[in-house]
Amino acid sequence: MADPIFIERLPAAGHEWIDRDQRLCFSFEGRRYGAYAGDTISSALWGNGVRLLGRSFKYHRPRGVYSMCAHDANVMLENGETLNIRGDTTLVEDGMDLTAVNTVGSLRYDLAGLTDRMSGFLPVGFYYKAFHTPNWMFPNWERMIRDIAGLGKVNPAAEWKPSPKGYDACDVLIVGGGPSGMAAALAAGRAGSRVVLVEDTRCLGGSLCYAGATAPESVATINSMRDEIAKLENVEVRLNTSVRGCYSENWLAMIGPGGMTKMRATAVVVATGAYEQPAVFRHNDLPGVMLGTAAQRLAHLYRVKPMQRALVLLGNDYGYGVALDLKAAGVEVAAVVDLRETIGKGELVHDVKTAGIEILAGQCVYEAHPAGGLRGIKGARVCPVNSDGTCISTTGINVNCDGIVMATGWAPAGDLIGQAGGRLNYVQDAAQFRPDELPPGMFAAGRVNGVFGVDARVEDGGQAGGQAAAFAVGKELPARRRPTDEIIAPSHPYPIVKHPKGKAFVDLDEDVQIKDIVNAAKEGYDSAELVKRYTTVGMGPSQGKISNLNSSRILAKATGQTIGAVGYTTFRPFTQPTTIGELAGRRFHPDRRTPIHSRHQAAGAVFMHAGAWLRPEYYGPRVRHQAIVHEVQAVRHSAGIIDVGTLGKIDVCGADAAEFLERMYTGRFSDLTLGRCRYALMCDESGVVIDDGMSARLGDDRFYVTTTSSGSAAIVREMKRWAMIWGLEVTIIDHTGQFGALNLAGPESRNILGRLTDLDISAGGFEYLGFREAVVAGVNCRLMRVGFVGELGYELHVPAQHAAALWDAVIEAGQPEGIIPFGVEAQRLLRMEKGHQIIGQDTDGLTTPLEAGLAWAVKMTKPFFIGQRSLKIVEPRPNVRALAGFVMHDSTVMPSECHLVVDGDEICGRVTSIARSPTLGHVIGMAYMRPDQTTPGTVIDIRVEGRLVQAEVAKLPFFDPSNERQKS
């Protein structure tokens, strides 16, 4: 294989970020390139003379390095595993194999590039204005549009390794490790706060890492501050860490090498700096046109010569420093074009002059001249310009250059401030937005605060750090005064030049041009938010970091408003695109197991999820249906045992316990005698059935109630609340998880239980609906004689740690009778044979006890129970529906639960439970129907897959109507 392409860099410099001792090799679009460790993908490619790094979203225009810090989305790559990799900020790894996203064919021969030629036909919002007639054609158009749009391709085979997430807290969080951030850290640190300083690049210093030449002495400043910070034990520095979002009460999402940290900070110092803003002119997006800071990053951090011959377009004194940087990097500076009529008198300006660089004041770049072969640009036309951006294109000169470097101004990186509810206001003389009202505990410092001079930033940061430290301990905030800033007007008010032929880009992510904004305003989309929604300016991957300000400027001009009045669109998380995996973290899925879980596993249970619980649906090895029938028959003919430990289990204690239950449940409990239990039904305040269970009396002042498995938590909660509101002397003890419970059922259950306890369980000694506390198999046990499944049966409740022992003992004791465990499905079938409703299955969100055939459990004569008053309102009305049983003798077509009961066009109700009864040998079920249909013998129609099948209404229960078996 051919040697990788590698072009040597500029001579080594102390502050560079590359490690020249480590050579790496990677591929891009099928060609191999060399790189140094520490190179980002963009720096390595640019350094090797690659100019075409990506294609734009809409017109597939050639793109190169622009901000060199992912404030644009020009360089987006994929490697088959990961997509939309940011080339500017992603380090080269040896052996990487990368291609650009969103190309048809290849990056170089991108067929979709045609759209650029047709752009004249694709104005702002063009897709709203076509493709919809004729209607039937739209799907094809949409498919085409979808295929052209979109960046990376997802790889459905990709695996995500769970990434950790952690909580943390600090007194003062400082976001940004530039001069102001470091100063803030020192101030807060010295004040004794627990400080965390986060910096999203690999080292502290911020812009001074690459803008050194603009203030040579500042490098020294930085180094000394770094050393100082290192000395403070209460200041923790986190590099390569970025704050992605700021939420209520200084709750911040930070992403670093170790995944996500959720940081609670008492005070936050926002020292996030500023986004350098581009100038807008024809072809301002082509490779070779870049921001001043991008050129500086290339030259200083990666020692890459940004271009051979540069034209420097500037609107502030900072740009003069950039020009000097370029010269120092061996770039021939063709000229400095200063948008301003009168150029500054600063030192830098003087140095530029003495360096012999020509300065063209009051001029602008009217257009860049594309070079052939997607090589970027070959020159530019420079014309006189007025401060309002109108340009005299008739007079002007052409300048040969392969790069245009733009230093025309800044926008504060105020995202976090906006997210936290702070406001930015437009400051005319500085021609940019500046933080105004900050939420409590948030402080801004440095360039984000509109302070640009290095010394001023250090001073500003120190003040902010001091205030943050004071706030953290609730002290009065020291006064804050704006440092005197040697840099007055860092931004040009209107670095935007129209061109009749267009292609002057405001938003590079979305290919939004000047005319798009103007035309949108013309059409009536004349507020910042509407322009965004219509033109999609700022909607792209970089969320308008380098387009929103210019967009507002253009809109303001077009609508004759001030920029302040136009304002900006809402700041929302995230400050940088954040992966779903990092946000998801480990993904906890708490699930609950009963104390008998291991026994079910051993017995071959097939588990089902019931809420958070894992419950045996049935027991293998038989297939589902056979297993269920087998289990049902065991219960009917001999004995079965089921784990009902998921039921809610509550002790209601205290002098007013009985009164309390009277109010909570629809039935009567004051007359429930010691040693007895009773069905308990609960309604909500609108009279809708919400839960049921059993209630047993343990003593004068103590009851034991069970609830449905899904209801337990909410019922306990509501009981506690009502107990408090009613001021009753009652204590609610939730034993749900603390108790295990099993139901021993079947004709043989008495014999089996008898072997395990001394308790008199004879028919007379322990009658139906009786309750006892006794030792069973050596365990203190609560026994209820209940008949949910319609057989002689006992529900045994014991402390969770004893449940397994009890289960083993019962199974053991039941061997002679061939006892087997049965699952949820068998229980459902058994109870249906017995005509027992399941709340939630045979009722829904609006069912009253009157409709559900539960009126017998409601004592309307009581003074009060929850829901009673509402039931009194609906009681006199005829029911619209009623639950009744039905049988099917011909069940060649078998309905399923929730198939409809219909009468012609009328929906009368629905099937709520249905199954073939192994005991009765035919299909039985329960359904809602018109009350007049509920008389046994009535034939009802059920619609199944379009056909009507007949069922005959039957009396409940289907099985053992006289209850002999459960009472035996």
């Binding site: 209520s248 009460e249 709750w251 959720k262 609670r264 306990v716 909660r717 609340r721 509402s870």
Partner: protein, 83 residues
Amino acid sequence: MKIMTCPVNGPRPLQEFVYGGDVTEMPCPDQVTDEQWAAYVFERDGAPGPHKEWWYHAPSGVWFIAERDTGTDEISNTYLYNG
């Protein structure tokens, strides 16, 4: 992350709490018309502003009352229910 101060357990992330709705007085069931009762059951004070609300700290099972402005989400006071 919103922090709420439980009168018993102190400041905790909101995820530990269950919202119990506005504190309302149940009218005496036999002294109100059907319409008044329906109003109690269904009608809510949905407008932004200071509300008295039920909150429940799930891990410890403590109910308490929070005075919260539903417009600004500011919690001015939390205390245990006392009759």
